[in-house]
Symmetry: C2
Amino acid sequence: MTKPARSTSDRTDKREVILQAALELFAEFGFHGTPMPLVAERANVGAGTIYRYFDSKEALANAVYQRAKLLLYETLVKDFPEDLPARQQFHVFWQRLINFAIENPLAFQFLEFHDHVSYLDESSQAVAAKLWEPGCSFFEKTNQQQITKPMPPKLLIAIVWGMFTGIVKVSYRGHFELDPEVIAQTERACWEAVRY
Amino acid sequence: MTKPARSTSDRTDKREVILQAALELFAEFGFHGTPMPLVAERANVGAGTIYRYFDSKEALANAVYQRAKLLLYETLVKDFPEDLPARQQFHVFWQRLINFAIENPLAFQFLEFHDHVSYLDESSQAVAAKLWEPGCSFFEKTNQQQITKPMPPKLLIAIVWGMFTGIVKVSYRGHFELDPEVIAQTERACWEAVRY
DNA sequence: GCTAACGGAATGAACTTTCATTCTGTAGAA
DNA sequence: TTCTACAGAATGAAAGTTCATTCCGTTAGC
C-alpha cells in the first residue's frame, strides 16, 4: 500500500527538496558550475518540475541565497542578550558564528566560497545588507565606551568576519579540528584584535 | 614605419595577452562564468589561437592560477629580512600582503573571490601548498620563543590570512579606504590577535 | 637584390556537446 | 470527466574545441 502521492504538503515538500539539492550543488560547484538537470536529479524531480516552483535558475539561486543568509541572520540575532557586558556579548556572537559554520556547512560554503554578484537580485542584496546591522550596532556601542579600537564599525566587522571565515575555511580543509579548545582560543584572539 | 608583425617575441607576447585577458575575466566572473570566446575577444585574438598556447580552458585557468599564486609567493619571500625581530618581520609581512592586494587587485580577486578546486591540477595544488611555508616557518620560530599564542602555526596563519582578506574584500566594496592609517591600525590589531 | 616556395602561426567558421528552458503525454485528485 | 502536477524527452541557444584555410616572415635560388 503506497501513501497518497499528492498530499497537501507535497508542494512545499517538493520546493524544499529542490532548495536543498540546489544548496548542496551550488555549495560545491557554484552557480555557473551546476547544471539544472543535475539539480533535478539530486532532488529526485523532473527537470521541468523545478520551473513550476522557480522562474529560472537565477530565481532558484536567489532563493537559496536568501535562505542561507536569513538563517545566519536569525542565528545571530535570535534571543540576543542585549544587557550583557560587551565582552560576553562578543562571546555569544563568536559561539553563534562558529556554530553556524559547524551545523550548516553547506550554507557556509555556498555563502563564503563563491561570488554571487552576477545573479543576485535587489531583494537578495537587501538581505545581505541586513547582516551588517547586528555587528554595526554592537561596535557603535562598544566604540562609544572605548571598549573597542577607534575604527569604523565596518572595519571592525571586516576583522571579525575575516578571522572567522579564515579559521573555518582552513578547518574545512582538514588542517585542524574546530574543537572547544580552538573555538575558545580563537575567540580570545579575535577579541584582542578588536578590543581597545 | 611599422614594426615587423611577427617578431620573435610575438609568441610570448600573445601568450601574455591571453593570460592577462583570462585573469581579468576569471577575476570578475569566475572560471565557469567566463566563456572562451569572450577571453579571445578580450585578448584580440582568434578563438582558436588560445588553443595554440593552452591545451584547454582548464589548462589556461591553471596557468592563470599559478601565475597569481607565484606572484604572491615572490612578493612575500623576496629579500625577506630574516634577522629582524619577529614583530618587525610581521610588519613586513603585513605591508607586503596589503601591497599585493592594492597593486594586483585582479590577481587578488581571482584568487580569493572564487573557488578553484574543480579545475586545479596537481602542479597548481603544489604551488598553493608552497604558500604556507613562509608563514609556517615564521610562526614556528615565534612559537618557540613564546612570542605568539600557543596555537598550531596553520591556525595562526588562518587568523592572519583571514583578517587580511576580510579587510581587503570590504575595502574593495568601497566601505572604507586602505590608507596608511588603516593599514597601520589593522596591522596592530592583527598582531594583537596572534601575539602571546 | 629580387622572387618564389616554404613553414608555422593565426584565424574563425563549423562541429560536438552541454545547458537552460519548454513541451507533451500521463496519472492521480476532485 | 476534468484538471492539475509531474517527469522526462525535446529544443534551441551557447559553450568548448577542432580544423581547413589564410597570412606573413624567412630563406633558397637565381
